[in-house]
Symmetry: none
Subunit: 195 residues, 4 copies
DNA sequence: CATGAATGAGAATTCATTCAT
DNA sequence: TATGAATGAATTCTCATTCAT
């Protein structure tokens, strides 16, 4: 009935949901299979291993993420507009790939030690470069404050955005764009009332 | 001959370090024992179970955390000063209990489902109440902006602070107070240059 | 459109090759199917089970072997000529059914414990009788030495011949007849130079 | 009670017995544990894996074998005496390590493809060199016949000896030395009565 | 206090086999 | 005839935990 690549995607979505909810290690293959309505062994018709499932989940997510990011970075925007676009894009990704983002947050550090997941480290580095250089550009141009430690600022903004995946529920009160707008407002202008 | 409670604390510190680095599930009792220079079975002279180790680590940490928080909340400070004091206190906790904080971040959600760890949920609720009411007080008094979703703001500030445990290394460039100051500056006034 | 029995034989040849190379247990049905250019499940259109494949391979081989042996034994030759003819016939079988012979060598002992493969034990017994009686006849007639343990001699000759299946490659330097001649020369006259 | 290395040796002896009887692949870890009177998981306190068991069995055997062989080869004997000593030594090894020899016969070819078992290939090569050079020396000196293909002769003698592990039972009618003597007599002088 | 040796309950994975299409 | 998808039983291996010494 359902064609092959479709089935694969369904199963990965199921797996991602469970991984995000329970953690990769704490998730048994049996649990995923239960959720998918099949027996544990049957998953191995579709995937080599539990590891290859999380691999495919993460790499698919990162591929899509970087498509969006690269478009933003190539658009030749000013630093503030770049930050705004990146943050907005990030919340859109969280909206579309919430489980994958949550998995990425929780597991990437410890997965990255394995050669198979080297791309996580690569992506991390590329990520850092994109944000840091934008922030530096903004400081140089007078858009951003120059009295802050720039690496601290980078971590602040980065974490601020991605941690949202741990509580965000699609279809909630706020659209991703709305959340992005509020986050940006806080990050850029602070929560204190201007006097 | 190190006295018993001392040895216990040492072992818990070791365990916390490993839990923080590898995740609770991925950490084997054998690994902790290796790190402590003993055999896996020997740990059971000191602790009932692996679970009781993480339990003691987390509850000890939360006890200390709440001692600090309660002092701040009882001090009768204004909303802005309260936030400042809470954030500063938080970074001090991260400095002193980094592994415990990291474990709390990664594991508390999924541990909280067990009755034994109900105190995690309680703490979480108390935490939320303290922050939310302070923010609300600040909005009412005109200290904080009133155009932001207050729960979003809460999550923003909360995550912003605690996520730091994932990268903070004691003895680095910045003291906890210095980091707290910069974080507060960003959170309160934003990263954009005021014009 | 290859006719059915033809296809069957092809598939069995493929299976035999893989069984001989990897061992029966270590060979997966999937591997055989790969080699045959089909999917694992498809083999079950042709065969009941993996076991029935090795069964058919071995029984086909033994049928042909005994046709040759029976002809030799019925020819009324003298003991030495009988031994020569049996050995030559054996090397011819190795040439024609090398994979089957190799499988027989490696697996028959442990397969023979199953009722389904009782014919292996029968064949083994018939085999032993044919050789032993020929050797005994030769000793009685003064053709063979009488100072050797006859069962030891039987095992010596038997193993000597069949083990060749583990290294023999059809189309190599020596024809089966040539190898048989050299083997017989060694077995009958020894490798030491007569003085 | 039983000291550690002793227990290890016992377990390896048990494992070797089962591997030899059923084949490595067909032997389950559970079966070995049953035979040893423990649960399957308990074996992993002593050994890393099933593979490391067969590894230790084979390498221990080969180490001892080469100790004996090297002593013979270093003794400066003539070709005939060398062959006699090697064959005798081989039957002694079969007597002492029958299961290991049987495993070596059945499994080494397919194990040798894995890097971990490269020493099997090395041993095989060293083995071949020792026998071939001795045979060549014997042909040159006029001890052995020069009308035989020397590689064929090598295989003949080699297989003749080692295959005995498949039927040899320690404590049977013949001592290893007695069997060696009869084998040598057949190999060197043939089974035909000299006229 | 610590060790050595085990237990026992799963875990991931493999694989022969089935069956609707 | 062959495919694609599954089943289910077995297999290797892991690991928290126990306990006599």
């Amino acid at each position: 009935m359902t064609p092959t690549p479709e089935r694969r995607r369904e199963l990965l979505a199921t797996a991602a949901e469970v991984f995000a909810a329970q953690g990769y290690n704490a998730t048994t293959v049996r649990r995923i299979a239960d959720e998918a309505g099949m027996l544990a062994g049957s998953l191995y018709y579709h995937f080599d291993s539990k590891e290859s499932m999380i691999d495919e989940i993460l790499s698919t997510f990162l591929d899509e993420l970087w498509q969006g990011y690269d478009a933003v970075l190539a658009a030749g925007l000013g630093p503030r507009e770049t930050i705004e676009a990146l943050v907005t894009e990030s919340f859109r990704e969280i909206d579309r790939h919430r489980p994958a983002v949550a998995i990425y947050q929780k597991e990437s550090k410890h997965l990255a030690t394995q050669p198979r997941f080297a791309y996580l480290t690569d992506s991390q580095a590329k990520f850092e470069k994109a944000w840091l250089s934008t922030l530096e550009r903004g400081v140089a141009e007078g858009t951003f404050r120059d009295d802050l430690d720039i690496r601290l600022t980078y971590r602040f903004v980065r974490d601020t955005v991605w941690v949202a995946a741990s509580w965000y529920r699609p279809g909630g009160h706020h659209s991703p764009e709305e959340i992005a707008r509020q986050y940006l407002s806080m990050v850029l202008d602070g929560i204190a009332l201007r006097t």
